[in-house]
């Protein structure tokens, strides 16, 4: 695979380019708007941990990064999920802007949508249903886009991003929902071979995304495609009470979320189903055993959302110090 094309320049050239400056100003407004939206709805911002004895195993094919923590093997966070659930014992509604590191497979280096180091706007809400969480995600994305259109017209112009691209999103029409099963059928109809048991592949996501004019949800992923913390449906065993939010115009996945599994025995069994050894989740399982709240939540990839809002070719353009998988960079 040729990775020499379309890669970030050196740090000085990248940081001082008008494009990067415009992107980072758009992103700054997005972060301000996200905090505004969530704080107004009673969410408390927490600062997430960066290392811990265990992290989210649910990243597809990505390697975790080991840290030698005084002789103990710790991990850099691949996502904040375990800490988000635990944090609900402090507050009912929390969010973080969480840094994540995932050593993605090298084949992701030219997808234009993977970074080894990225951030998520991570939200968790005790007692919430999946639909509650989807409502917050939808409102949040709408608010962020609206603020950027209101406040960053000059930067969007520098980037060549026509604000009319958001007309449908800002029209007030709700985001469409479709099940994973229906999305697979749509892809088959488009002649794309997509497994019904697996997460929608990157090419398939881009195909579905290209046909949409505003973001849309895909729900009910099959068990076996996601981590142990996505709750299995009581009504429809084998399917998860989860969702992805996909951007239109071919930009693909922005966000994953779910109603969470919080029951101890179910979590242990699900850990085994995802090939995990429960022994390494000691602190988390001890908390779960004593009881953590039922919840729902999601994580929005900040750089991916920035790519969509700013209309960028590649997600690395949305980072001041981009780490494209496999590419050595500061």
């Amino acid at each position: 695979m040729d990775t020499s094309q379309n890669l970030p320049a050196g740090p000085r050239e990248h940081l001082s380019s008008p494009t990067t400056r415009a992107v980072l100003l758009v992103q700054h407004t997005m972060l301000t708007a996200a905090r505004e939206y969530l704080c107004d709805r009673g969410f408390t911002e927490l600062l997430p941990p960066i290392i811990g004895p265990v992290t989210d195993p649910g990243a597809r094919g990505a390697k975790q990064v080991d840290v030698d923590y005084y002789g103990h093997r710790y991990k850099l966070m691949t996502s904040a999920i375990l800490y988000k659930q635990a944090s609900l014992t402090a507050f009912d509604r929390i969010f973080c802007i969480a840094p994540n590191v995932r050593l993605e497979p090298l084949e992701t280096s030219n997808t234009d949508r993977h970074l080894a180091e990225f951030h998520q706007i991570d939200v968790e809400w005790a007692g919430a249903s999946r639909e509650d969480a989807m409502g917050v995600a939808e409102g949040l994305v709408g608010h962020v886009v609206r603020r950027v259109v209101e406040r960053r017209a000059a930067e969007l112009e520098v980037l060549g991003r026509d604000p009319d691209a958001f007309a449908d999103l800002l029209s007030g029409a709700t985001f469409e929902h479709r099940t994973h099963e229906a999305a697979v059928a749509d892809l088959h109809a488009l002649g794309h071979a997509q497994s019904a048991d697996a997460e929608i592949d990157w090419e398939g996501e881009a195909m579905l995304s290209a046909k949409a004019s505003r973001p849309f949800f895909v729900t009910d992923y099959p068990k076996g495609s996601r981590g142990f913390y996505d709750r299995e449906s009581d009504q429809r065993p084998g399917y998860l009470r989860n969702f992805d939010l996909l951007a239109p115009e071919g930009y693909g996945e922005l966000c994953s979320g779910s109603e969470r599994e919080h029951r101890y025995a179910q979590i242990v069994a699900r850990m085994r189903e995802t090939g995990e050894n429960p022994a390494k989740y000691g602190w988390y399982l001890a908390m779960v055993r004593e009881g953590i709240p039922a919840s729902a939540g999601f994580g929005i990839g900040l750089e991916r959302l920035t790519r969509y809002v700013a209309g960028l070719d590649s997600v690395w353009q949305a980072s001041a110090y981009p780490k494209v998988p496999g590419v050595v960079a500061p």
Binding site: G61, A62, K63, S195, D197, P222, S225, G275, N277
Partner: protein, 419 residues
């Protein structure tokens, strides 16, 4: 120190590693002076006791004759086979050796290079990384994995073979698959469709147990975080390190396979099962969940350390496993005391797609690090061609259970009406 393998025909294996196809026959110097006939009494298991039974009438030979416009010979048998999603030169693969001291790095690398050159798939064993590695492939344990992958890839002909990396429950902590899938060293294999991952559910030598190894006292502290370490060899002796067998239900197996397919879409998915009494159900679950291949290790299998009780009387023999599986619904691979062509062809006739060489490969490589495995496999290949052609068939997939006769059975197959 040379390897020994009690109860295993190690001298015969070593002879093949030295002399190759010559060992398929009696000593050639006895030709013309010795009368051979009824062979030695059979002493092995039920599979050894079974016989291959060539028919008198051979319609497939007629097809081959028409195809070739001459009488077919054993050299016309085409042994190329799809083995678990890989094109293989032979219905043979190299089994995992495990992490025991026996499977030292040097033997492992020599075996890898020879397996690559033969164009047959190779499974790299569990526990290599968690026992001695700690991070990336160029760390201590990763180096042996990396060395084996590289030795194989350098020797393999284009488009043939594949490397399958095993992971068991404890390996999951070390993320062996994620490590390999994202490592530049494995990329040529991944991009040529020759990388696979094997979920290790269990093993033949000690069904129901996880991996067992003997470790030096000084290594105990480092390993105690991950494994149970016990002083079973006296106060000053080395320690027994036990890995857990892992907990599996139908749903856990099904979902783990699906997750492998989801997370590693470009890798083949293999599953290794122990010779459990529910082996038929377990193979069906694995195939239905999308496994490219299911390996069954008969109770005679294994190169690793096992308690005597387990070697003596735990687990189903390979023949019984094959019987309980019946007609395979996917690619079935088997291992367990296989070193020559007769047992191999019996396994193929009983439903297996290919056979694994474990102990035999180790002994052969130890006998001759450059060519021991190659010669052993050449001997097996010649025998397989002779046997398959004797059955009137010219490709392994054509073999069926009617090619086998089990002592005690009245007929080998349903009577065929005479026309």
């Amino acid at each position: 120190m040379s390897l020994s393998a009690p109860g295993f025909p190690h001298e015969a294996v070593r002879e093949r590693a030295r002399t190759g196809t010559a060992a398929v026959f009696p000593d050639v110097s006895t030709y013309g002076t010795t009368l051979y006939g009824a062979g030695e009494a059979v002493t092995g298991d039920a599979l050894d006791a079974a016989a291959l039974v060539p028919p008198v009438f051979v319609p497939e030979r007629l097809e081959k004759l028409i195809d070739l416009a001459r009488e077919p010979l054993h050299s016309d048998v085409d042994l190329t086979t799809d083995v678990g999603g890989f094109a293989s030169a032979l219905p043979v693969y190299l089994s995992a050796f495990g992490s025991t001291q026996v499977a030292s790095v040097d033997l492992g690398v020599a075996a890898s290079a020879q397996a690559g050159a033969l164009g047959v798939p190779m499974v790299v064993g569990e526990n290599i990384v968690p026992v001695s590695g700690y991070g990336r492939l160029d760390d201590a344990g990763g180096r042996s994995l990396l060395a084996r992958i590289t030795a194989y890839a350098d020797a393999a002909p284009d488009g043939l073979g594949g490397v399958v990396v095993q992971q068991s429950t404890e390996d999951a902590d070390a993320e062996v698959w994620n490590l390999v899938y994202s490592d530049p060293a494995a990329r040529p294999l991944l991009e040529s469709g020759r990388l696979g991952f094997e979920l290790k559910v269990g093993q033949g030598a000690k069904p129901g147990l996880g991996g067992l190894t003997v470790v030096a006292r000084e290594d105990a502290t480092r390993l105690a975080d991950q494994f149970a370490v016990e002083p079973v060899f006296g106060r000053d002796g080395p320690l027994l390190r036990s890995a857990s067998p892992g907990t599996f239900t139908e749903e856990i197996l099904r979902q783990q396979i699906r997750l492998m397919r989801n997370n590693f879409p470009r890798a083949r998915v293999w599953v290794k099962l122990p010779p459990g009494r529910d082996i038929g159900a377990a193979t069906r679950v694995a195939w239905a969940a999308g496994a490219d291949s299911v390996t069954v290790d008969g109770a005679q299998g294994g190169s690793g350390w096992a308690p005597r009780a387990f070697l003596a009387g735990v687990g189903l023999p390979l023949a019984e496993c094959l019987s309980r599986i019946g007609t395979p619904q996917g690619c079935l691979l088997v291992s367990g005391r296989i070193w020559e062509g007769l047992r191999a062809v019996k396994c193929l006739a009983a439903g297996a797609r290919a056979v694994g060489l474990g102990r035999a490969a180790l002994l052969a490589v130890e006998t001759d690090a450059q060519a021991g495995l190659r010669r052993l496999v050449e001997a097996l290949t010649l025998e397989a061609r002779l046997l398959v052609s004797a059955l009137g068939k010219y490709r392994p997939a054509a073999l069926t259970r009617e090619d086998l006769w089990w002592p005690g059975e009245v007929t080998a197959a349903e009577p065929v009406p005479v026309r």
